[in-house]
Symmetry: C2
Subunit: 306 residues, 2 copies
Amino acid sequence: MKKVLLATEKPFAAPAVTGIRKVFSDAGYELSVLEKYTGQEPLIQAVKVVNAMIIRSDVIDRNVIEQAPNLKIVVRAGAGYDNIDLNACTEKGVVAMNTPGQNSNAVAELLFGMMLYTARKQFNGDSGTELREKSIGIHGFGWVGRYVAAIAKGFGMKIHAYDPYVDATVFEKEGVTGHKDLQSLYESCQFITLHIPLTDTTKESVNYSLLSKMPKGATLINTARKEVISESSLLQMFEERNDFTYLADVQPDCAQKIAILYPGRYLFTPKKMGAQTEEANNNAGIAAAKQIVNFFEKGDVSCKVN
Amino acid sequence: MKKVLLATEKPFAAPAVTGIRKVFSDAGYELSVLEKYTGQEPLIQAVKVVNAMIIRSDVIDRNVIEQAPNLKIVVRAGAGYDNIDLNACTEKGVVAMNTPGQNSNAVAELLFGMMLYTARKQFNGDSGTELREKSIGIHGFGWVGRYVAAIAKGFGMKIHAYDPYVDATVFEKEGVTGHKDLQSLYESCQFITLHIPLTDTTKESVNYSLLSKMPKGATLINTARKEVISESSLLQMFEERNDFTYLADVQPDCAQKIAILYPGRYLFTPKKMGAQTEEANNNAGIAAAKQIVNFFEKGDVSCKVN
């Protein structure tokens, strides 16, 4: 009988645990749950006998991996996995996975919430503007980008996208105008929303030469990582263009300066919350459980990250 | 040559006036503009020679009508028209119109903004909930209701509606589950959004017997008129159901009580703002101009209200 550990320093909500428990009981696996633990010791003890584990932001370093001789797979319930030592996993023959796409709708909904809240003057009673018929450019057409396109369609927006890794036929199928270069995307869209990972290439890649191409009413929405934006370019845009607005989950380093100099033209969440919904957490937990079962029963490694 | 007066105590934005001017110059009509006037006298003087007029919230009473011997049509750029003396118009053979549907998308977008803002904990960084897969009940399937359905579709919501004046085939065409009675609508939907006019029949018609049928997480959204809701029922719901939330444009009379007793479970705009967008105002003005031309050139009276 396969033994699975659910190790969550910050526990899942009860419905997620119930859902996870059901997946494993249906599969005939044994689940043990380690929640709200303190320090690494309880985790070290718990991993000694298990074949698989589900984690959240729990740190799975080389020490943990080496104390788990029977471990075959560790799944991070969520998108990011920089809390797992991938090299140690690979060396010990452990498959590491994340659960891509499970929190994508949560992110997409947040950005429309931020767009509407800002377009309608933070609900202060003043006359605002509408999204319908406006152009939105989706920079990075992965999971989140696709949800953004679906929602934007409902709002009757004109949808544009750029993603060098996505085939033109995908854009056509989704009713999206695909762009072959970024300049052209930024030139075409009043709203630009970023859905790119942070890499050496993307770091500070959203810069003045792109932003300054945006048409009147330029609004940049960043629910990706703050580092993909060049903050000096951001400040230059604020200074030169009084029609420029920046909505971000989460605050740039220059947030205080923007708040003082450009009131009413920004919205920053106090901490990163795009992926934080009950549904996203439940979905990620249950997806992680299913991935573990599919790994053992079908050899499915499609979400492997190492 | 037809003479048209644009009489707006509270003027349109410049793009709307430009659009209106273009409609009349294309038609070969003469347009005069009376903006930011004080008292009725400038209006009385201006109407003496005109054949048609566009107004906003300007008061067109019997006195104005009687001073306008050549007037054939008055169009209220907007939805409501209780600022026009319809009886006086009818007696003098003047057609009165409004411009239905022009601000409907503005209202629909506002309510989704309010729903998302509330579902995501007013962007305070906490974990929220999603709209996707949730059920929304559209009570009154007119112009606003149809925009709500289109947007809800983008969010992947399950869409229900009730409207005794709408044929079942319309619901089917829009991918909406039509309900034959209100009880059934309220039983089926976590979110209920009101799009009914205020009449003797609808006054306080949204009451405890309906609201108490709503499933867990019941959220009532009112961008119609505050009077269609029974406020005693509202307070009873707040008291009995700690999962009940009320989002309204604009505040109920019992707003202060709700604010004190049920923090975090309501959102009220400080003044009615659903219809207030640049686009809605522009659209209404230009629609009014087109309706005047169609009235004279084609005898089109489809938006007549008297």
